[in-house]
């Protein structure tokens, strides 16, 4: 019996014994990571579907001539900058540099809004040229369908992210949240940037 009790205590004392945090992060942050992994699956599914369609069709419009690469490059630039300002906001919150958090959160949200403006302009132009979900003048209906679905899904994430950032800034100003909450918002925002890296490469460049 005594032996069993010792073993039981050893289990409890281990990292995975319960009552501890085996991942070394708080519960909310761990759940955001779990969500991001599952959201990765969503985008991976969309991008894999796009790749399979494009490969199996064998023909695809010359998208470098259809898209405005300078506009997309500028949007990418803005999103990277907003990710950097977000990193500064998170770091400031964690080190107790309180005054710097809200300005950098707002800068980040502004970056997101600029990105969305660029995307709205791009979509408008694309639609004026005749692109629809169901077809387009370039002869491959899947081309505009995958474009609208994938960039739309990403744009939805950016829109939600801007609201999330504004809510975080407001709640930080009211002193309702801990630095960890800013960090979690940061994880989400960086993820949006991360997904754009792949969309930018696969949809626009390749």
């Amino acid at each position: 019996m005594a032996h069993e009790a010792v073993e039981h205590n050893q289990v409890l004392a281990s990292d995975w014994g319960g009552g501890r945090s085996p991942f070394g992060v708080g519960w909310p942050k761990l759940m955001m990571w779990v969500f991001l992994v599952s959201d990765t699956l969503t985008f991976a599914g969309l991008l894999a579907g796009y790749g399979a369609l494009r490969l199996s069709l064998g023909r695809w419009p010359a998208q470098a001539e259809i898209f405005d690469l300078y506009l997309v490059g500028a949007m990418t630039f803005i999103l990277i900058c907003s990710s950097a300002t977000m990193a500064v906001a998170v770091s400031a919150a964690r080190r107790g540099d309180r005054g710097r958090v809200i300005p950098f959160l707002l800068l980040t949200a502004l970056g997101g809004l600029l990105f969305l403006t660029g995307q709205a302009y791009e979509w408008t132009k694309f639609i004026h040229e005749g692109a629809r979900l169901s077809g387009n003048p370039w002869g491959v209906p899947q081309f505009s369908a995958t474009f609208f679905i994938i960039t739309g899904f990403h744009g939805g994430h950016v829109s939600v992210g801007v609201l999330y950032l504004l809510a975080t800034a407001l709640r930080w100003g009211l002193r309702r949240i801990q630095p960890e909450s800013v960090e979690i918002a940061g994880l989400y925002w960086h993820f949006v940037d991360l997904v754009w890296v792949f969309i930018f490469t696969l949809l626009y460049l390749i």
Binding site: D15, G24, V37, G58, T76, M86, D193
Partner: protein
């Protein structure tokens, strides 16, 4: 526990805000490289290969430094990174043959 969070806090900020500036700079450099490769004409296979490598480099920078994963406990790193390998294998194994079979039929 006290001790380990303390260690994480310190490890997370080795050089203040500077590291974010450095990562930001390299992300921009890689983006410009990507655009440059597209604008000069290189063979298709080389184009796709180099663009994918550059994209993975950007992703690694964002995950490691902006998302702080480099400074997290290894158990969290494995929990996040290993599913990606399985994901890649599953996608290639199940979708790849279907997509590529067209090459043999054409």
């Amino acid at each position: 526990m006290e001790h380990s969070t303390d260690r994480l806090e310190r490890a997370a900020h080795p050089e203040g805000y500077r590291i974010y500036g450095v990562v930001w700079f390299w992300l921009l450099v890689i983006t410009l490289l990507e655009l440059g490769i597209v604008l000069v004409h290189v063979p298709r296979a080389l184009l796709i290969g180099s663009l994918l490598i550059l994209a993975l480099m950007k992703a690694a920078l964002i995950i490691a430094y902006f998302m702080h994963l480099r400074y997290e406990k290894l158990s969290l790193v494995y929990a996040v990174v290993t599913p990606m390998f399985f994901l890649a294998i599953v996608l290639f194994a199940f979708i790849g043959p279907d997509a590529l079979s067209v090459f043999y039929r054409r």
